[in-house]
């Protein structure tokens, strides 16, 4: 498939935006936490799971989605939410725990809910998969042409909710696409120690649904596989699964000593940076100059900086607001 310049450039811009956001959050996370690391300190306390390295997956899939297509994500949600087109200010403010955040400070980095982009996520592995099935059920009941997508890791593919959800979606022929981001590890546990098949795409056979493996560092490959799956779902032909092989560049969470990695493993994978891969493709076509790439980077840096400013300048919720929003 020959992709258009605009399509590729949009993918590129999206990937750069996610990377820029993640790396900046990664920097700010350590403010006031060092020298003796204290997870509770700083402007961004708590756990932090960043998406750097995997951006091609979020960008390649979400390129096909409309704001009203529901997406569910995981403990590592930033990339998906950005690719879905969130208001960056509100997202950053939530990560800072501010009143102006998406969830008024109640959710935080792992619990980002955005009705505008029909996005939800959460900190329980596998917890979001059934939600996408349910969203797809709602879509089918209303005879709409929306599509639900659930992103999750290869580690999550061994939890019961994976099996139950995909079976439900297949039995009910729902418009939902399951995207397994196989970044080789679940925290420190390598895929071979957790998964009885070589590829989660082999598991499509257990539900009679199409399932493909793609190179998750290559945005174009993801884009093409996602197009097929999402179009299929939109046409009412049922669910499918995409397995994207990818890599996380920053460890499981910030502070991860990564003692479990092989010797040159990370540096080898860093050679497959999705920004470089897509950048090279664009340059080969003559669609991106170094100067343009720099301009894109500068724009994204500005946008992230603006979100940062917004977040920092926003007020915290009042303590007593903790008692609100329990019930509708």
């Amino acid at each position: 498939m020959a992709l258009e310049k605009e399509t590729l450039l949009n993918l590129y811009r999206n990937i750069v935006l996610i990377r820029t956001f993640e790396e900046r959050v990664g920097e700010m996370y350590y403010e006031d936490k060092l020298p003796a690391f204290d997870i509770a300190a700083g402007p961004i306390p708590g756990e932090m799971h960043l998406y750097s390295g995997q951006e091609a997956v979020a960008a390649g899939v979400c390129a096909h989605l409309r704001p009203d297509d529901p997406v569910t994500s995981t403990h590592r949600p930033h990339g998906h939410l950005i690719a879905k087109g969130v208001d960056l200010n509100a997202m950053m403010a939530e990560i800072f725990g501010k009143k102006t955040g998406l969830c008024q400070g109640k959710g935080g980095h792992m619990h980002l809910f955005d009705p505008a982009t029909h996005f939800g996520c959460g900190g329980i592995v596998g917890g979001g998969i059934p939600h996408a099935v349910g969203a797809a059920l709602a879509i089918k009941k209303r005879h709409e042409d929306r599509v639900a997508v659930s992103f999750f890791g290869e580690g999550a593919a061994n939890i019961g909710a994976f099996h139950e959800s995909i079976n439900l979606a297949a039995v009910w022929k729902l418009p939902v696409v399951f995207v397994v981001e196989d970044n080789l590890y679940a925290i420190s546990v390598p895929k071979e120690a957790s998964t009885s098949v070589r590829s989660n795409a082999e598991r499509g056979a257990a539900y009679g649904i199409p399932a493909v493996q793609v190179d998750g560092q290559n945005a174009v490959a993801v884009y093409e596989a996602a197009k097929e799956a999402i179009d299929r779902a939109r046409r009412g032909e049922g669910p499918s699964l995409i397995e994207a092989i990818c890599y996380r560049f920053r460890g499981h969470f910030e502070g991860d000593a990564e003692g479990y990695l092989g010797a040159d493993e990370k540096s080898t994978w860093k050679e497959k940076d999705p920004i470089n891969i897509l950048g090279a493709q664009l340059k080969e076509q003559g669609w991106l100059t170094d100067a343009e790439a720099e301009a894109i980077q500068a724009e994204m840096t500005r946008r992230v900086a603006a979100a940062e400013t917004f977040a920092r300048e926003s007020p915290y919720p009042a303590p007593e607001e903790a008692l609100e929003n329990l019930f509708a």
Binding site: C103, H111, P130, L137, I139, L168, A328
Partner: protein, 336 residues
């Protein structure tokens, strides 16, 4: 004209049917809720009325379909899901307590989860340890779920209608021994007058089922019936028991509880759930906190004595509160 009588199960099914007629976004799913009509009859006739798109039998995938209900609810549907026995919650608990209950709060209110999770509770028919539990106390401990535990056909209909219209997640616990099923031990209170037209009963309003002066019995569900029978016997012995059906545990009608105890000066909690760390502890604590000076005797609790429900009849009778044991405990309380 005679009053229309309905069993609790038919009252529930009627509430659901009326809401389904009223609101396209309401649908039902669960195991054997279609052609079978629900093992405990709570969905009887719905498939025939509304068809398989709105009355969906599910695979045995509690995590999956309860989670799917959560997802459908966040997209604006109003699912009613049946968990066949509450005892099976363990297969779905993450979706119940980490997702359904918490998403409204975690989202800062931007995402609603308007759904009803209905489930069967209770024992006294030798279904043993994995099919006889109540567990409403366990769910009441989880912030974010409204907990409804009706004891009569009338309340079941009104509270179910209320539950479906509520924008928050509601768990609705119906007792097998209160459903009025033909194959359960007959219970005369399980069939009663239920108005045909739709009505609601607000949450958080306890029902004083019987006025009394000498002690207050706080309870829910089938134990309301046994407590009323006990109150009858106590009356014969000159003891006047006030019986309060809490109807909802979250929200809880603290005022009615406290006012009653201030009047009777004695309180007995009767609970078919496990004794420790549950409903009976909470209610006793509330009384101690809010009516300490009015108490003429130490509060008492009658509940399942912290063992699983045993199969064999004599043992099961020993652990689930009976009328006789309610009477005996009430007498001890009044005499202390």
């Amino acid at each position: 004209m005679t009053e229309r009588l309905l069993t609790t199960s038919k009252a529930i099914a009627e509430a659901i049917a009326q809401e389904m007629e009223r609101d396209d976004s309401v649908f039902v799913m669960g195991e054997d809720i279609g052609a079978y009509g629900g093992i405990f009859g709570a969905t009887e006739g719905l498939l025939q009325k509304f068809g398989p798109e709105r009355v969906m039998d599910t695979p045995i995938s509690e995590m999956g379909f309860i989670g799917a209900a959560v997802g459908a609810a966040t997209e604006g549907m109003r699912p009613i899901v049946e968990l066949m026995f509450v005892d099976f919650f363990g297969a779905a608990m993450d979706q119940i307590y980490n997702q359904m209950a918490k998403i409204p709060y975690m989202s800062g209110g931007n995402t609603k989860v308007p759904m009803v999770l209905m489930t069967a509770i209770g024992g006294s028919y030798s279904d043993a340890a994995q099919h006889s539990q109540c567990l409403y106390g366990l769910f009441a401990h989880t912030p974010g779920i409204k907990i409804v535990v009706p004891s009569s056909p009338y309340d079941a209909k009104g509270l179910m209608t209320q539950a479906i219209r509520d924008d928050s997640p509601v768990m609705f616990f119906f007792h097998k021994g209160v459903q009025g099923l033909g194959w359960m031990t007959p219970n005369p209170r399980a069939t009663a007058h239920v108005p045909e037209e739709s009505y609601t009963i607000p949450f958080g309003q306890a029902d004083v089922k019987r006025q009394g002066q000498d002690l207050t019995i706080l309870t829910v569900s089938l134990m309301v019936h046994r407590s009323l029978d006990a109150a009858e016997k106590l009356a014969e012995q000159g003891i006047s028991a006030e019986v309060i059906d809490l109807r909802t545990l979250v929200p809880l009608d603290r005022e009615t509880i406290v006012n009653s105890v201030k009047k009777t000066h004695r309180v007995l909690v009767v609970d078919e759930d496990y004794l420790s760390y549950g409903m009976s502890g909470e209610l006793t604590a509330i009384v101690a906190e809010e009516a300490l000076d009015y108490l003429d005797a130490a509060p008492k609790r009658l509940a399942v004595p912290d063992v699983p429900i045993p199969y064999s009849r004599p043992m099961e009778k020993y652990v689930i509160p009976t009328v006789d044991r309610i009477v005996a405990t009430a007498k001890e309380l009044v005499e202390s």
